[in-house]
Symmetry: C2
Subunit: 638 residues, 2 copies
């Protein structure tokens, strides 16, 4: 039997589901759709393929769209057996749909739907059809994602203040199902990522009146659930956790119990935030953010090595041409999208996807070139968000950190151009843009006296933060002498404010690891992430400042429970441990070649499995000797 | 009480309903969505307005979208009473919707929704909100159009070949409702624009199995309905005609009974094709075509004078920027869109709409400028449809008729630019483009020997048809001497093939009327449209060739019932009679000024009312004297 797929216009599946995702945020009774350009899928497409059939064959087209099948010059409705051949046959399927993207499924022996079909939208040249390994059956509907489900019962049920508090073993993305012993009555259930949140009926984010028929609540982030005015004996509560089943391929256990717990909680955090797309957090924002996704690509590579979620996330973030505003409205997040493709290709090669996405890389860079200031630096316009980090940066004029990302984008373009067979003239032009920008960054932002890059030169403040200096090390914009100065003058300098987000800890610790400061990296992982565990975390947080009291630890954005307690960007210990301590680096993803540069001297024992392409690499360190073996992974889904 | 409207992003209402319209064509059991770029509405918008409130006030926001209300810094859900003021208050409403366009309705004394709200889509600068006079109640849903309904019972019921044939007094766009005396059983009903079509179960376009619960069929074009295998006594059939109630303001009666019948059938044809948008025909295609709509604007001006349907149609046709393909895929239809705005403004002034649409006129013209050939003529690319008419034209290379429309577009741009306060430099540039193109048309296409414009110069055939020559007269591209030559050498020349579509008859008869050939025009109206009446027409047809036999008169596109028997472009006698015989010409639409240049010498008596702005102009001709009076129309809907 051939492999049939549901097919659609390339990228439409991702744009549609991304919109659903980005419109799913709820805050205290109202929906909060993401505040950026939300791109439409196409509504009218045509699928085409020519066949040379050696004998007569038949097929059937399934679709919920409005349309018909055209075989040479004869039209047929959907859902009807169509015979054709032998000989040359031209088949097209015309489909229109308003509410979601048009998709079709063709079942047949010789004629069937897969990515070899071309699809057009009447505005652009035809492209290969889009498809997903999750949609291969004619009874499915690609606009509905079928989540995997696991049922969790509460691990603790406690009568509290006239009601009942339920606790689950960990945080979940779940549909609560509530049954009353003596028939259903209207009541409200209050959910929380923390005990405090569930008990705070005024300030908790999610509260629901269960569907009177099914007793079910909408899917949401929940660890604790509180039902006022009731007794234990009257009510039964279960949580139906709904998730995208992306298998974890990595395993890590070591002589250091704290590190093992950090790995395990990071892995759980990361899986919760890895659905159809990489999202920031499961309670808030539930949105697809480019900078957050960029870090997820690195964790994914070492934990799940799932290429598909990267592709879906990158397609969702970029949207359609023409590009008119920054991704997520954030200048740096536009640039991280390009760098994300670099990370993706360095992990999986994925020539097919690079060829698909390369034109959009070009149009993104063209958009950026319309945003240059008089010095040729990439600057924000009114309405653009210059983010970099939740930190006090001097954001007057063009920011150093942004130019560093922009320079790395030009280097990425040179690499990508070369990989897709772009003219050498064009590739050289990319490389030249990189070299020029790199030079200009030195001239405008390097402060030799301070031994550091300044945030910005416009204000004259010559303000130094860790951020640009970390990028300078990571992206090799500083030379070796400068890098050492940066470590001394900035990273080791307590006068420079500490990083307070796990987001930038990822970059900082990567930079430190790159500079060989493994002991500092390990102790930071243990202090910072261990600190959250000490505060009772079962998933890692959006932000953690050890100096903030327990009473205020869930506070953020001036909101009592504003902080997300399950945030993807806090899962980076997985990357740091795998990439810098185990030391596994993929050197040729197409050939599944890798090198191991271990720094396991800090452990008595490490037993770990890490994925490289289809291989599972088993690394065993007994304190004396490193043993590396390979298992061929069976591809369970493709 | 203030006038509250449902509001949305300008144009989204039209794009959404246009998609529904263009996806509504059905042919023998399958849907046929229009084969051109179908534009998406926006999915995420924000509405904003600042108020200076003299006292505290309250309001409520209604919406089916996902979102919230922001009053200064405080968020509220939809559907809740919100109090604010006194003082300066900043209100924004955030709304996202996937399946249709986000719309909101704000009810309140001081704070309420109308076009004074600004709306943005996160990609472009804010624009005034869109609205419709048909959506003014919070219980409505702007994605659902509430049609007006009239019930028609059959005027004839006839047992035929074992079944029953029902005939209605005229053609309708109706939901058939079918009741069986002894309970419902599954059966199929066959619809036809003609008796022959309804009786031809294999070839008729629409056949339905009524909904078993309601007995209702989908809305479709129907004059005859046939139900096989049943008897008169067992079944009751009624037709629920669904329509947009646009009042007819004109009235026409004369001493010529045939002309009166032609007017009346044309008016009925036109009303059937005037729904949310001007469509081509009610059985087929049910699509919004730009060239067809262009003619409808002229008929509308004299029959209903409804500005709104023009605006909706123009917005629907143009879609979003960037423009990448021709409107309806047809080069000439792109150009007719610009000319349609000229027709609209000449009838209604409508500065507000012109200001709204002018940027899209500019981007359309910019798109055209990317499509010029080496001579600076507008040419088709692969995939473009060069239509002009169903006729044998020499379509090699750039077509004369297209350049004539293009020239008229530049003239329109000069006029529109001047009206919206464009710089005089820009307006002069438009005018210069017009002059240059006009000159080049003379050089390349005028054949002095033939006394005619040739279709094309590329093939060397120097082929002459009526089409370009008609445009040359209508758009004053020919000088007076040339015009006379054209009349002699082309229009009066039987060797040049006759026009066979009412579509181009509109242009031809307008040109003849402009040249004072009133007798020929009148006799053509009587012969051609009267000819259709002679064939039993109750609505006017897409095409009529008197030389085709009655057996083949419904045949078109190689299809037994392919011809549309109720086609908007066949309604032009209304325009021709009003504009050239009654002779009413609007000279200043803003001031409701008009002139009458009557040619009523061909009638013994004419009693007619024609609309000019809010005035109804009553024109009475008794064969001797012309009497003109004015009534102020009460604006019943605004």
């Amino acid at each position: 039997m051939n492999k049939c797929y549901w097919i659609w216009y390339q990228g439409d599946f991702e744009l549609y589901h991304a919109m659903k995702q980005n419109f799913s945020r709820v805050e205290r009774g109202f929906g909060w759709p993401a505040f950026w350009k939300s791109e439409g899928f196409r509504n009218r497409v045509a699928f085409r393929k020519r066949y040379m059939l050696v004998e007569e064959t038949s097929f059937c087209v399934y679709s919920k769209a409005i349309g018909f099948v055209l075989v040479d010059d004869k039209k047929y409705p959907f859902g009807e057996k169509i015979s054709c051949g032998p000989g040359n046959v031209k088949i097209s399927v015309h489909a229109g749909c308003i509410e979601s993207f048009p998709s079709i499924y063709i079942k047949g022996n010789a004629v069937y739907s897969d990515s070899s079909w071309q699809v057009e939208d009447y505005a652009n040249p035809p492209v290969p059809a889009g498809y997903s390994r999750y949609f291969t059956d004619e009874k499915q509907e690609p606009s509905c994602w079928d989540y995997s489900e696991s049922v969790y019962l509460p691990v603790s049920v406690e009568e509290y203040d006239g009601g009942v508090l339920y606790e689950f073993e960990t945080e979940l993305t779940a549909v609560l199902e509530i049954a009353c012993k003596d028939g259903c009555r209207p009541f409200r259930v209050y959910c929380g990522e923390s005990r405090e949140e569930a008990l705070d009926q005024e300030h908790c984010y999610y509260s629901w009146i269960p569907n009177p028929r099914t007793g079910r609540c909408p899917r949401c982030a929940v660890r604790y659930a509180y039902i006022p005015d009731c007794h234990k004996a009257d009510i039964e509560v279960k949580a139906i956790h709904q998730y995208v089943d992306i298998p974890v391929r990595a395993r890590f256990s070591s002589s250091d119990e704290l590190i093992d717990r950090i790995w395990s909680v990071a892995a759980h955090t990361f899986r919760l935030c890895s659905g159809i797309f990489f999202i920031d957090g499961i309670k808030r924002d539930k949105w697809i953010w480019s900078g957050d996704a960029y870090q997820s690509f690195f964790v994914n590579q070492y934990l799940m090595a799932d290429e598909d979620i990267n592709r879906r996330t990158l397609l969702a973030l970029r949207g359609n041409d023409p590009m008119t505003t920054h991704i997520n409205t954030i200048l740096d997040y536009t640039l991280f999208w390009i760098l994300g493709i670099k990370a993706h290709c360095e992990a999986y090669s994925d020539q097919e996807f690079l060829h698909q996405i390369y034109p959009k890389m070009c149009t993104l860079m063209e958009f950026c070139e319309t945003q240059l200031d008089e010095n040729g630096f990439l600057a924000g316009r009114e309405g653009d968000w210059i983010y970099i980090d939740w930190a006090e940066l001097d954001k007057a004029g063009a920011l150093c950190a942004e130019q560093m990302l922009y320079a790395e984008c030009w280097r990425t373009m040179a690499m990508a151009g070369c990989m897709v067979g772009e003219t050498s003239k064009r590739c050289e032009a990319y490389q030249k843009r990189y070299e020029e920008l790199k030079k200009k960054i030195q001239t405008y932002y390097w402060d030799a006296d301070k031994g550091a890059y300044i945030d910005s030169f416009t204000s004259g403040k010559r303000h130094v933060t860790r951020h640009a200096n970390i990028f300078a090390i990571l992206f090799d914009l500083a030379d070796e002498r400068q890098k050492k100065q940066i470590v001394n003058q900035v990273l080791d300098n307590d006068a420079i404010p500490q990083i307070t987000t796990p987001y930038f800890k990822f970059f900082e610790l990567s930079a430190l690891a790159k500079m060989g400061r493994m002991e500092e990296v390990l102790s930071c992982i243990k202090d910072y992430w261990g600190g959250m565990l000490g505060r009772g975390a079962v998933t890692f947080w959006e932000e953690y400042d050890p100096n903030v009291s327990e009473e205020e630890q869930y506070d953020m954005y001036g909101d009592r429970f504003g902080k997300s307690l399950c945030h993807a960007w806090a899962a980076s210990p997985i990357y740091l441990l795998a990439r810098y301590f185990v030391g596994l680096e993929i050197t040729d993803p197409a050939k599944e070649e890798y090198e191991i540069h271990p720094h396991l001297e800090h452990f008595d024992r490490v037993d770990c499995i890490l994925p490289v392409g289809n291989k599972d690499i088993h690394i065993l360190w007994d304190g004396m000797e490193l043993k590396v073996t390979e298992d061929e992974k069976r591809d369970i889904l493709a």
